[in-house]
């Protein structure tokens, strides 16, 4: 029996050859699909390639039509690159390290509209094809004035709760409850039958006095005294009830008195909220600049946070840091053996299309493990004078070589021609030029510190008229021609909670416009707001007052009872005192001595 079967070599060679031919024929497609599927899952957004070709002999690859969809807007590509060609270090590729010696990228465009909606990649990497609300695409846009408006008092009261109304309803309910309580109490404690019975008892005694002899006098006196005590007790009880009732009445009156101040309180609150003051320029500035700027910055932080983990692998890994993943295990790093990161782009020439103008850039030392590589990644774009601007310079340094990362962005944009910049619905800039300069530092991938200065000269804005929004239209008119706008923006805090300190002479421009627009109008607004509040709460306040009148009316019952029992007590006392006198005789008879 032979140990080896040499014909197996032929069989293996045939099978191996077939596999190799298959791979060579379909390698490009396999890599293309791999990038699209794995890249989409890693970036949590759709990535498409029009074509990919590799050359194993020259160790080069080229990609055409790279599109990265915007995860927040599936009708927009956040990044588009027409053509990418790269030279890969083949020897390092054997060690599963992607080292790109040189890369050329042309036709880089940001925020471009997509031809078809991108699939939404969820957190588990599954794709969905639901459409998202499409946002407007465009690298530059104008903030709208839609948020600036004075609502009518009727509209305001539709959406606002009035403290007056709530308090009046509550007071009415409280007084109605008091009324019900006292009604019940009067029925039980001030029963008219008991008054009648007392009257009868007194009448009976009076009859007895008229008809009785001397022998019954002591007994009758005792009965009179007993009746007097009974009536006095009643009167005391009524006095006690009266005092208790008075307390409730005072509490109800106090509640109603408090109602008087509430319409003013409501008015002040709503006026502060809805009325634009004469110094409303600062609020308008917030609407015009801070809101839209924050929205764009939040998107930028999100993209930065998404990219950061891929650009900042730890330099060395402790044993505990290798986490077990079923079916995949963990790759242990041996940095001394081959001191290269898993991914390194040594040098790239970039050509980006900004404002329909090609600008050239350079990227150096971009890696997934800067601590191991020891150099920061540097990106620079610059361009000289052209039709759109005088000069443009952007420097980005991602220094994650130490444990405390320091990323810096510096921008210097001079002589930007503002003509033609527009945003659908928000308006168009007809003329003007801008200079923008600033720097932003991000420490530890979270702490922000930056300042930007923009100066806009001879700006002519054309903002569409808004029907029924006179204030916005007046402000728009004031912005139609401005000699100079200067804006300084300071950024501080962390990405989760950052503050924008915006200073601008736009404040004064808009304040002036607001004053002009508001002259006379705000007074009318305020008086009609007060009227609307009174009208809305008036019914409830009147109802509460009516309830109080009802409650006060119940006082009459107490008065009547008190007076009736007082009269009875007088009569009882009179009857008893007549009998107690030694000279008095029944029937009004007098002794002759």
């Amino acid at each position: 029996m032979k140990i080896f079967r040499w014909q197996g070599v032929i069989a293996f060679a045939i099978i191996g050859g077939a596999v190799a031919v298959f791979l060579i024929m379909f390698l490009d497609g396999i890599i293309e699909r791999g990038i699209e599927e794995n890249g989409s899952q890693a970036a949590k957004t759709q990535i498409d390639l029009a074509s990919l070709s590799t050359s194993l002999l020259s160790q080069a690859a080229s990609i055409e039509g790279l599109e990265v969809a915007n995860p927040d807007n599936n009708m927009e590509n956040i990044l588009q690159i027409e053509k990418l060609s790269m030279d890969v270090d083949g020897a390092k590729a054997v060690a599963r390290k992607i080292i790109i010696d040189d890369l050329q990228a042309t036709g880089i465009r940001l925020n471009q509209k997509r031809a078809s909606p991108a699939k939404i990649i969820d957190s588990e990497g599954k794709t969905q094809s639901t459409d998202q609300e499409s946002e407007e695409a465009g690298s530059l846009g104008l903030p709208g004035l839609g948020g600036i408006d004075i609502k009518s008092p009727e509209e305001i009261l539709k959406s606002e709760k009035l403290e007056t109304l709530e308090a009046a309803n509550k007071a009415k309910e409280t007084i109605e409850n008091l009324k019900a309580k006292w009604q019940e109490k009067f029925e039980t404690d001030l029963n008219p039958n008991s008054l009648e019975e007392t009257k009868k008892k007194l009448a009976k005694l009076q009859e007895k006095v008229k008809a009785g002899g001397l022998a019954s006098i002591p007994e009758t006196v005792q009965e009179f005294q007993s009746l007097q005590k009974e009536i006095q007790d009643r009167i005391n009880r009524i006095t006690s009830i009266k005092s208790e009732f008075e307390k409730d009445v005072q509490a109800a009156k106090k509640q109603l008195a408090e109602l008087k101040n509430l319409p003013k309180k409501d008015f002040d609150r709503l006026k502060k909220k809805y009325s634009l003051s004469m110094d409303g320029g600062s609020n308008a500035l917030g609407t015009l600049i801070e809101g839209p700027l924050k929205a764009k910055l939040d998107k930028a932080w999100k993209a930065y946070k998404m990219l950061s983990p891929y650009l900042d692998k730890p330099g060395t890994t402790a044993k505990e840091d290798y986490k077990y993943v079923r079916g995949k295990g963990a790759d242990v790093q041996f940095t001394k053996a081959l001191p290269y990161p898993d991914f390194l782009l040594k040098h790239a020439n970039l050509s980006m299309n900004l404002l329909e103008t090609d600008i050239q850039g350079e990227l150096k030392d971009l890696t997934d493990n800067p601590k191991l590589y020891g150099k920061p990644a540097i990106l620079n774009f610059q361009s000289g004078k052209n039709e759109k601007f005088d000069s443009f310079n952007l420097d980005l340094e991602l220094d994650k070589t130490s444990n405390q990362s320091k990323d810096t962005l510096a921008i210097d944009f001079k002589g930007l021609n503002l003509s033609g910049i527009e945003s659908s619905g928000a308006g168009k800039i007809n003329g003007g030029a801008a200079n923008l300069k600033g720097q932003l530092k991000i420490t530890n991938e979270n702490e922000l510190e930056g300042s930007f200065k923009a100066a806009l000269n001879s700006v002519s804005l054309s903002i569409p008229k808004q029907d029924g929004n006179e204030l916005a239209n007046t402000i728009a008119k004031s912005l139609s021609s401005i000699d100079r706008i200067s804006i300084t923006i300071g950024i501080s805090g962390t990405m989760e909670s950052y503050q924008l300190d915006i200073q601008s002479n736009l404040n004064d421009i808009i304040s002036g416009a607001v004053k002009k627009a508001l002259a006379g109008k705000m007074e009318g607004f305020e008086s009609s707001l007060m009227d609307a509040i009174k009208s809305k709460a008036g019914g409830s306040i009147a109802g509460a007052n009516g309830s109080l009148s009802g409650l006060l009316g119940q006082n009459k019952i107490l008065e009547q009872n008190e007076s009736a029992y007082g009269g009875l007590l007088g009569q009882a006392k009179g009857g008893a005192s007549g009998l107690k006198s030694p000279l008095a005789l029944p029937g009004g008879l007098k002794l002759p001595f």
């Binding site: 080896f4 070599v9 044993k319 290798y322 077990y324 079923r326 079916g327 295990g329 242990v332 081959l338």
Partner: protein, 168 residues
């Protein structure tokens, strides 16, 4: 499943030497226990082509031990991690992995290293154990099939031939 069992019986009752069967199973075990698409697995496959071992049992071993590998996955990770991060072996590993071919082979992966060590270690006793079992089977059980008339009477001739080795 039935086909796999029949393949085992067919191999057991064939003229092949016990070492050919045992080696086929051992190779199947090594390849099955390790992640499939690694260069050293292709090298093992190459060896399997040129060594005169039983290929059917290699496939049976591959499928069987692939299932076992899924269960032992965490153990392989632990073995690989312990070996690759052992203090005393760092110089050795750095020396080894300075040659890119070993990184290409993904030997720095905890699963690959753990399963390779486990399967190579386990394959030796598996080879000898299976060798012994084949011998014992052929010595004591192979003749039993000839003594069971039921199989013939049921006219399951093809299966009978397969099981008894008559069909070879």
């Amino acid at each position: 499943m039935i086909r796999q069992v029949l393949k085992i019986f067919k191999a057991l009752n064939s003229d092949e030497k016990p070492w050919q069967l045992s080696l086929g199973l051992a190779f199947g075990g090594i390849i099955g226990l390790m992640p499939l698409w690694t260069p050293h697995n292709i090298f093992l496959l190459f060896l399997a082509f040129i060594i005169n071992l039983n290929f059917a049992l290699l496939l049976v071993g591959f499928f069987f031990f692939s299932g076992i590998a899924y269960i032992l996955d965490p153990l392989f990770h632990e073995i690989g991690l312990a070996v690759l991060t052992a203090e005393g072996m760092q110089d050795f590993w750095n020396g080894l992995f300075s040659n890119p071919i070993f990184l290409f082979d993904r030997l720095n992966n905890t699963l690959v290293m753990g399963s390779l060590l486990f399967s190579l270690t386990a394959s030796v006793p598996l080879f000898f154990l299976f060798n012994l079992l084949v011998r014992k089977y052929r010595q004591h059980l192979q003749g039993l099939f000839d003594k069971i008339p039921l199989l013939k009477s049921l006219k399951l001739a093809k299966i009978y031939d397969t099981v008894s080795g008559g069909g070879r």
